[in-house]
Symmetry: C2
Subunit: 120 residues, 2 copies
DNA sequence: GGCAAAAGTTAGACATGGCTAAGTTTTCTA
DNA sequence: TAGAAAACTTAGCCATGTCTAACTTTTGCC
């Protein structure tokens, strides 16, 4: 859960300047109270900074985690695309796969990617 | 959960003739009460047949699900191996990945496999 | 500036999947 | 064949992640 949340929060801050519970709820297809509860767990875990009724921001730890997650996500998606999978499916499957690939497998994905495109 | 369980139960029945809670607990690294509880859920879901204190067997539905899971598992593992990943990592990662790959991605994995080896 | 709508929170319920402690059943073996 | 060991179950606890209903705060607009 934490990984998906910090990843999305980082994206929202980048594209919108701030991350709001209502957008998180929409993106994950859950209800607002679920987001509130999960955000407070993230706060307890030291991953986000936040005051009630205010936007959500990442701590340094949160930013590091988000960056690691986004890197994995990028690699997995690029790899699936390189296999000829359509974008929508690649995104959807990557979402599930990215939390389960070891660094070893990630490296192998990157390797297999090099011949076709120079991404990272 | 159900998928992992029926998959393992099928394997145990094949290799041992029956599936016992104690072996399931060991393989999943959980305690026996957890297995008891989960098995009763599988029973409620119509996937296994079972009397208290006896071995566990799959219903027809359970066998079908197990077969589908084992196929996916086989494909994912073969694919990871074809990427040059070591067996242990391939097995471990496949365990996590197999529940998140769409049929589309699975097909792509199979496709990408053909040039190197004829498995399936 | 005040009120309605939107956003967010709190409280309380439920399902899943894990645990320990304690009891029961089955199996093994002396 | 009895008693000990192993296997299994029950009961009750906890954390996670979801929900609805009801309430509070903030925002936006007339």
């Amino acid at each position: 859960m934490a990984e998906d949340y910090v990843e999305l929060i980082a994206e929202l801050i980048e594209s919108r300047g701030e991350a709001r519970p209502v957008e998180i709820a929409e993106r994950f297809g859950v209800k607002p109270p679920t987001v509130t509860k999960n955000i407070s767990r993230l706060k307890a875990a030291g991953l986000v900074r936040r005051e009630p009724y205010r936007a959500i921001f990442l701590t340094d730890a949160g930013q590091e985690l988000a960056e690691a997650c986004r890197r994995r996500h990028r690699i997995v998606v690029a790899f699936l695309l390189s296999l000829g999978i359509d974008e929508e499916t690649a995104e959807r499957d990557a979402e599930g796969i990215e939390h389960h690939v070891s660094e070893t497998t990630l490296k192998a994905f990157e390797q297999a990617l090099v011949p076709s495109q120079s991404d990272t």
